[in-house]
């Protein structure tokens, strides 16, 4: 790095808000230097919102942390320059750096609950920013309250007196944004600011950021794995792969007409434009991200690219300037024609016969928890049917009862008296320890986090073999044969059999978990956010696998996800839950197309879309109410944008069939629920 005086920069014209030049960052891990960013260059213009996308491990967060100079202890900037408003950040001394952080750059990141100090009141934490500017305490508190009002916190003075844990996730993130914007920074870095929040809350936070961007003259660096969020929020996008910027361009043209095979692949992995499993498989990106620090000759993406040839593997492509946009691909003009990695050939759709007896049926399924002397009504009177070979998607915000329902079905928790669960027409005992081995075998689960579901000290062979022995009671001599049949069915190479889970990637672990769940030839598999922790390319492969297994084995799924695009892709029917009540139940297409329950409508309108079309958002007031004291009448009336009047407060509406097989729990007539304007259909889904 050439030494540069702090204020010596691009002084000729007004400098970019952020300019990164040839940035090399490496982490030292067990004595080895692992390069994470390789000669990264990009600029964020004044007032611009620049998005950085890429899958986990590509170096997104390292960029953010390098800019604020908060790299982990073992991380080091080895070369390059970072100019913030023309000032060379890397040349700043401690005092100047502090001053810069206090005046020019702020950052908001994932998990606001952890970003706020748990033992300081919210007011004190926000006021601290103003105190640092030399304001007296009283004035700082006034300014803090004003700032909280600007991030649309309804009652700032009461929120100021609370501790972070007393606020909802959305409120916490508003507070974090208020603190970040309090200094009116030149650059605001947002690192996955809405990841982990509910879709409705995410939409609110994104609305807020978009609005504040107009109010404050701030430039934004927006980092996310979620392409749709980037599409909604950013003017320009950079696609990061293995620490390299592989493509850059205006958001619209880059997403509509990608010119790098990686971007092409990422976009194809998403279940977009209402794509469903019977339309064919999702495309995938084969292979894995090269490990950090890998020595790569030629193109970093060559290993996974269908276009790659000897030239790609030998000569590293430069960032070709394509006029206002750039691609690091020798064959950028051919990128959109990238052959599919996974053939589409739609699996022969299973004919689900809803005349026959459902494989699973619940009647008045309810669960009340006792918590601190209160009764918490987690789930009330859920009556559902699930037929052989179909997928029932469960959607709803956190706290809606999705996971409780799954656990009740599995018998992991016991349903309240009066609840009925039937398997193949026979009553299923509520608790798992009173179910017969065959009944236990019939209902299996795949969790969100395969790490916690798989015993770390056992090999893959042992994990699946044990499930075969326990669930399928396969005698030892035939076990290996069956084991291999299963691992091949989940497309797990034989060489992984001797490996322990920690040596596997997230996607491979989820395959092991799926093989384990299928070992006993279950009738029903509950999938609880099975792809939420996975990158989009891996998610696509898992969704394909689930669809294939369903087509060949006629298994039924209860599929829980907060990602509506995924739910739409895999589900035949969808159940919408709110505060433990079934608000809507119907065929997937009809639930998405409408007429909708007002809550479903709000959920759908919250999903950002990749084509950048902004549908009119339906905003829900406030947070999901407490299940200890659910609202009277219709539980949704406190937040409903289409509340009729006192009838909603007094009477719980029945679940009425709006059309054949499509029921909605609302006092509004079905024909009035279909709005005049085009229904806010998420044409495309987020990448999460």
């Amino acid at each position: 790095m050439t030494p540069t005086a702090p204020w010596q920069g691009e002084m000729a014209s007004a400098p970019d808000a952020l300019s990164i030049r040839d940035l090399d960052v490496a982490y030292r891990v067990r004595g080895k230097v692992r390069q994470v960013l390789r000669g990264l260059s990009f600029q964020v213009g004044r007032g611009e919102s620049y998005g950085l996308v890429g899958e986990s491990g590509c170096g997104k967060s390292t960029v953010a942390l390098a800019i604020v100079r908060y790299l982990a202890r073992n991380g080091r900037v080895r070369a390059g320059r970072i100019l913030l408003d023309g000032r060379d950040l890397l040349a700043l001394g401690e005092a100047d750096l502090r001053k810069l952080r206090a005046t020019a750059v702020s950052m908001v990141y994932q998990d606001p609950g952890r970003a706020l100090n748990p033992s300081l009141r919210v007011g004190a934490q926000v006021a601290e920013v103003f105190r640092l500017q030399g304001m007296p305490q009283a004035e700082a508190l006034d300014r803090a309250a004003a700032m909280l009002a600007r991030v649309q916190i309804a009652d700032p003075s009461s929120v100021m007196g609370r501790y972070p844990h007393q606020l909802s996730g959305g409120m916490q993130q508003r507070v974090a944004i208020a603190m970040a914007l309090a200094i009116n920074p030149k650059l605001l870095i947002l690192d996955e600011p809405t990841t982990g929040l509910d879709a409705t809350v995410e939409a609110e936070v994104l609305d807020l950021i978009a609005r504040l961007r107009g109010e404050f003259a701030t430039s934004i660096l927006f980092i996310s794995h979620n392409l749709a969020v980037i599409a909604r929020m950013c003017d320009r996008v950079g696609v990061l792969y293995a620490g390299l910027l592989v493509e850059e361009g205006g958001t619209r043209e880059l997403f509509d007409n990608p010119r790098h095979p990686y971007t092409v692949g990422l976009l194809r992995c998403l279940p977009r434009r209402g794509r469903r499993k019977d339309h064919g498989r999702l495309d995938t990106i084969p292979g894995l991200l090269p490990p950090p620090g890998a020595d790569i000759a030629g193109c970093v993406f060559a290993e996974r690219c269908a276009h790659a040839d000897e030239y790609c593997r030998a000569v590293e492509p430069p960032l070709y300037d394509l006029g206002g946009r750039a691609s690091r691909c020798h064959y950028h003009e051919r990128a959109p024609d990238l052959p599919r990695a996974t053939p589409s050939d739609p699996a022969a759709p299973i004919a689900v016969d809803r005349e026959e007896r459902p494989v699973l049926r619940t009647q008045r399924l309810a669960k009340t928890f006792a918590a601190g002397g209160h009764a918490v009504h987690a789930l009330s009177a859920i009556s559902l049917e699930l037929w052989s070979g179909e997928t029932l998607g469960l959607v709803g915000e956190s706290g809606s009862g999705k996971t409780t329902l799954a656990r009740l079905l599995l018998g992991l928790i016991e349903a309240d008296g009066g609840s009925v669960i039937e398997l193949d027409g026979g009553q299923l005992p509520a608790a798992i320890d009173r179910r017969t081995p065959d009944q236990v075998k019939a209902l299996q689960i795949v969790f969100q986090n395969p790490d916690s579901a798989l015993n770390r000290s056992h090999t893959v062979r042992h994990l699946i073999g044990r499930a075969l022995a326990k669930l399928a009671r396969v005698p030892a001599p035939q076990q290996l044969e069956r084991l291999l049949a299963f691992t091949r069915a989940v497309r797990l190479a034989d060489r992984y059999l001797a490996v322990r889970p920690r040596q596997l990637s997230g996607g491979l672990k989820q395959r092991v978990a799926i093989a384990r769940a299928f070992a006993g030839e279950p009738r029903i598999v509950v999938c609880d956010e099975p792809t939420s922790a996975l990158d989009v390319s891996v998610q696509a492969a898992i969704l394909n696998l689930l669809a294939d297994l369903q087509a060949t084995r006629r298994v039924s799924y209860v599929f829980i996800s907060h990602d509506l695009g995924t739910v739409r892709y895999i589900s035949d029917r969808i159940a919408v839950l709110y505060l433990g009540r079934l608000m809507e139940l119907g065929p997937a297409e009809q639930v998405f197309r409408g007429p909708h329950h007002p809550y479903t409508e709000a959920l759908l309108s919250a999903v950002p879309s990749l084509d950048g079309s902004v549908t009119e958002r339906i905003r829900l007031k406030g947070d999901i109410p407490s299940a200890i004291r659910p609202p009277s009448g219709c539980v949704f009336h406190t937040r409903c944008p289409r509340k009729l009047g006192s009838i909603c407060e007094d009477q719980e509406p029945p679940l009425i069939e709006a059309e054949a097989g499509h029921a909605i729990r609302c006092h509004i007539q079905a024909r009035d629920l279909q709005r005049e304007r085009p229904a806010p259909m998420p044409a495309e889904a987020p990448a999460s």
Binding site: R101, Y109, P118, S119, L120, E128, Y163, M179
Partner: protein, 319 residues
Amino acid sequence: MSTLRAIPRRLLLSLITLWILSVIVFIGAQLLPGDVGRAILGPLADPRAVANLNHELGVDRPLLVQYWSWISHFATGDMGMSYTMRAPIAPFIATALGNSLKLAAVAFVLVVPLAIFGGVIAALNVGRPLDRIITVLGLSATVVPEFVSGIVLILIFGVWLRVLPINANWPPDAGPLTQVYYLLLPSLPLFLVLFGYIARMARAGTVEALDADYTRTAVLKGLPPRTVLWRHVLRNALLPTITVIATQVGYLIGGLVVVEVLFHYQGIGSLIYVAARSKDFPTLEAGVLTVGIIYTVATLAADVLTSMLNPRVRLGAAA
């Protein structure tokens, strides 16, 4: 779940613990070999006199009756009569407890600030030589028993350097400062035992807090390092340490037998020790049970203190 709401339950559990302790102590005392009257009157006394004395003391009654009579009196503050001193036990216990508290207080005042300071310094230099030195020294000191460290300290400070008195008993009419001076050497072994323990907790808490997202938030606000450390890091880092410290109060008062005996100090530990040697069962039982009560109360107080300091526990989750 609020811990505060669980206090009545904890209180009940503490009472049960103490009751079990009283039974164990009582039975244990019965199991010690030897006849009480014989032990008091000596091997040459007339068997009839021994029997008379046993009757007088009530030790010839059924065990259950003896236990009930002892525990019901104890509950009202009547600890009974000492066999050897032929006087009510309560005043002895009170005096001894007062002395033990003084010793514990001196040790406490020395160890707590220094151990926290050491732990925080280690955390701020995590992985560097200073961290290793503090951690390793603290750990080594913790595993050395008090009678070993005590003797070494007596040799160094009392015999070779002659800077500290090796007998903890201060002269009559000594002022508070003189008393502290006499208690310095006895409190050092306790210091060594506790230092490593508390420092480790402080270090672990600080390391965790330094890595926390909220600390990053504070640094990125541009706050000066001192503000980050005091307002953001330590406030969260030391909560678990405070719990550990409060729990150690029980040890400091109850675990002083070795140190008190070693330094000839008239605390509750040496009272128990002397009572055990002279088969003075009522004093032994009263002493052990008193220590048990103090231990239990200290632990309970530690829990309540932690709940009060932690807003997440104190205020519960969002409504």
